[in-house]
């Protein structure tokens, strides 16, 4: 580990599972000082290590996955084969050490392994365990497997993304997993806070589907109150007009919106056509909406002559909400994100220097950090089992001889 974060120093977190929804929780906690142990096995490592690009230099390898690295920085990695009874025994010992377990196995798997919450809580009554899976631990489809990219469709996000006469659209990757991981991080912390205050542990059952619906809360509320079923509407908004993305030079785009006549007058001034604000076709939101094609043509003619950056700067100077549609490369160059150190380079043992993503918040007095790079698989077995868990050398050797670390 290369940096220090202290707000959650002393918090001990153990992860079972892989991909995004579980490990992202442990990453955020580790960014603020928690000791997070990511448990895998060499036979079945985290799926992000092997299934998803990008791989460093396009060469596969357990320790070459940028996808795994992105959600596992600042952690320790251990290998424990839970198919072996001794592996389960070791996991139970680790459960006595930790404050929080995060697992995203399919519902019921932890119980079948002998690692269900009731069994572990007997060993460690203050233990908080967060179980996160697609559908939650109960219900008629509790056993249904799934990935977040598809769950975003079931949760209504895809239906509401795209243009009205086109197909639904995907947001990149397992979008909903990160909603669940963020809400789950809050639930886990709340469990830990109560556990520390009262000595009482907690079992948190987190359905990624239900978490996704939290972000659809207003649309669902509207349906419950009025029966209205919203459909995808491109970039339109019921109130703001204009409201959309406009083409700029070099295939760039700028997003902008006007929420009042004053906003529109400011936009008109910024684009050098103050007569627009007095034009009867655009007088008031209703008129602007009725003549939106003509209005968007005028705005596009202006944006098309400049870079997205120049357009956004000019509009913001006039008080109009605007921002370039930032590309993935643009994220690293964005002046605001750079000022916040959103991406921080750390040196990985096999991938060398590369960038990790920081959470969207920070603490002024106890700031977090990317404490270290993502771990190579099993890289921390010695340190974790000997120094953190406290196995004797004889115990450690005995586990090794039984193939637990394979």
């Amino acid at each position: 580990m290369t940096a220090v974060a202290q707000a959650l120093a002393g918090l001990k977190v153990l992860e079972f599972g892989g991909y995004a929804a579980g490990p992202h929780i442990g990453k955020v906690l580790a960014n603020f000082g928690a000791s997070t142990i990511h448990m895998e096995s060499r036979e079945r490592p985290d799926g992000f290590r092997i299934q998803y690009p990008p791989f460093k230099d396009n060469r596969h390898g357990y320790n070459r996955s940028g996808c795994f690295a992105f959600f596992n920085d600042s952690k320790y990695s251990v290998t424990v084969d839970l198919k072996k009874p001794a592996g389960v025994a070791l996991a139970r010992r680790m459960a006595q050490w930790c404050d929080l377990i995060v697992e995203n196995m399919r519902a019921g798997v932890m119980e079948r392994l002998g690692l269900g919450f009731p069994a572990l809580a007997e060993l460690n009554p203050r233990l908080v365990m967060l179980s996160t899976c697609n559908m939650g631990q109960t219900g008629p489809r509790a056993d249904q497997p799934g990935f977040g990219s598809q769950l975003s469709a079931l949760a209504g996000v895809c239906e509401l993304t795209g243009v009205p006469d086109g197909p639904p659209m995907l947001l990149y990757g397992p979008y909903i997993d990160y909603i669940a991981s963020l809400l789950g991080t809050s639930a886990a912390l709340a469990g830990v806070i109560r556990s520390r205050r009262t000595g009482r542990g907690a079992l948190i059952d987190l359905s990624q589907y239900e978490c996704g619906l939290v972000f659809m809360g207003a649309a669902l509320q509207d349906f419950f109150a009025s029966g209205r079923v919203p459909t995808r509407c491109g970039n339109d908004d019921p109130l703001a007009v204009p409201h959309g993305a406009f083409p700029c030079r070099d295939q760039e785009w700028v997003a902008l919106s006007c929420w009042s006549d004053a906003d529109f007058a400011a936009l008109a001034k910024a684009i050098g056509d103050e007569t627009l604000a007095a034009d009867a076709r655009f007088a008031g939101a209703a008129a602007r909406r009725a003549n939106i094609e003509a209005l968007e043509e005028v705005i596009s003619a202006w944006t098309g002559q400049r870079s997205a950056e120049a357009a956004a700067v000019a509009l913001q100077a006039a008080g109009v909400a605007a921002y370039p549609v930032v590309t993935m490369a643009g994220l690293y160059a964005d002046p605001q994100l750079r000022a916040r150190r959103q991406f921080r380079v750390r040196r990985h043992a096999e991938m060398g220097d590369h960038a990790y993503c920081y959470p969207g918040f920070d603490l002024a007095e106890a700031p977090g950090d990317i404490v270290g790079p993502a771990p190579c698989v099993g890289a921390d077995n010695d340190f974790v089992f000997r120094d953190l868990i406290g196995l004797t050398q004889a115990e450690y050797d005995a586990y090794r001889q039984q193939g637990v670390f394979d």
Partner: protein, 387 residues
């Protein structure tokens, strides 16, 4: 309740509403400050301010200033969305005046940096955080989700920040100032897309109804397939679960007498989606498109579950409202005195979903007055995405 002894003052606007809702769902007592006469009829206001108690205060009036100061002395967390330095509750002043208080300031671009004063609503935040660059047709316009998402990303991260700082205060006795950037919060939604630039110099872009980034040969996989009453989301995955799904789909198609085409010759035990090129992907997708076109969304959901397949229908809010899985888990909840249902608490704690305690608009001074006639006589106004 996990946070039953935590008192929160929530003085946020749309950008921060979810933070208080999340913490209320975890058991905190959340007092939402509203200016007299504020609009509380919108669907989004009701969705994200249910489970809070409302206190009307004019923070410019001396008597109300005294009231909020009294509340802040006993509070653990104060949630703010300060629009500028003249905001009535200044984050830095609160930190000075209330050393134990955790102050959470949620802003479009955070409190530091050259663009911290820039204006933004949902669409600019989705653009600034990179999400729009990845949504839409490849040659078409970048799009946002029609339902605002950036406020959710900001609120979710703000709730974490509040609890990180609260946890630290339990050790040190000191609060902290949590600076939340909605733009930076949206970056989380991009998954690992930024890593392609960093590691390989590749720029992920909009893929429309397809998924890119999984094949080292650049093949794109269809994600959305027209079906009888809408769309199905299905992707050819690899790995153990992908293999099972692919095998089950072919078996299902065979049982139905569907044409298999190139699917018939595939050995799913060795097929690897990261190594497939576009012609191979096109060949296996063609017969599946014909098969899915005959199915309804509910048929796919039911049969897919029975066969343990990966994939889901593309749901509307009406589909979601009638989902038996959510019904069985009691996700949608009623609140005493209100006709409509609400999304319930997002987590089940110790086997119980914490019940919603307060109807939207329940006043601080009359917590038990929510019994009686439904408070909603008219449907709420459509929300829009105003910050």
């Amino acid at each position: 309740m996990l946070l039953s002894d935590v008192l929160i003052i929530d003085a946020t606007d749309r950008l921060g509403w979810l933070a208080g809702r999340v913490l209320a769902d975890l058991g905190a007592d959340v007092i939402k400050i509203e200016t007299p006469g504020s609009d509380r009829s919108r669907a989004d206001w009701r969705a994200f301010n249910v489970n809070k108690r409302i206190l009307e205060l004019d923070l410019q009036a001396p008597s109300d200033r005294a009231r909020i100061e009294d509340l802040l002395r006993g509070a653990d967390i104060c949630l703010l969305t300060p629009s500028d330095s003249s905001a009535p509750l200044d984050p830095h002043a609160l930190r000075s005046n209330y050393p134990r208080l955790v102050v959470v300031a949620i802003r479009p671009f955070g409190g530091v940096g050259p663009r911290s004063a820039w204006r933004a609503s949902d669409i600019e935040l989705m653009a600034a955080g990179g999400a729009m660059a990845l949504a839409g047709e490849p040659d078409g316009i970048p799009v946002r989700v029609s339902e605002p998402q950036s406020y959710g990303w900001a609120g979710a991260q703000a709730a974490i920040g509040a609890l990180v700082a609260l946890s630290h205060r339990d050790v040190t006795g000191r609060g902290d100032l949590v600076d939340v950037s909605a733009q930076a919060s949206v970056v989380t939604a991009l998954s690992h897309a930024p890593a392609f630039v960093d590691l390989l110099g590749l720029e992920p872009t909009r893929a429309g109804a397809f998924m890119t980034g999984r094949s080292i040969k650049g093949a794109r996989y269809r994600v959305f397939w027209p079906c009888r009453d809408g769309y199905i989301n299905f992707i050819f995955y690899g790995g153990v679960s992908g293999r099972r799904t692919n095998e089950q789909l072919v078996r299902w198609m065979r049982e139905c007498g569907a044409e298999l085409g190139a699917l018939a010759a595939i050995d799913w035990k060795v097929w690897d989606p990261t190594k497939a090129d576009q012609s191979e992907v096109d060949a296996i997708e063609a017969p599946v498109a014909k098969f899915f076109a005959r199915l309804s969304k509910r048929e796919f959901l039911t049969e897919g579950h029975r066969r343990e397949m990966l994939g889901y229908p593309v749901s509307t809010v009406a589909d979601i409202a009638g989902d038996p899985q959510l019904e069985a888990r009691g996700f949608f909840q009623a609140v005493a005195g209100v006709a409509e249902r609400f999304c319930g608490s997002f987590a089940v704690i110790d086997g119980v979903r914490p019940p919603l305690r307060h109807a939207p608009g329940a006043p601080l001074a009359a917590v038990k007055s929510t019994q009686g006639e439904p408070a909603m006589a008219e449907p709420p106004r459509r929300a829009g995405s105003r910050p």
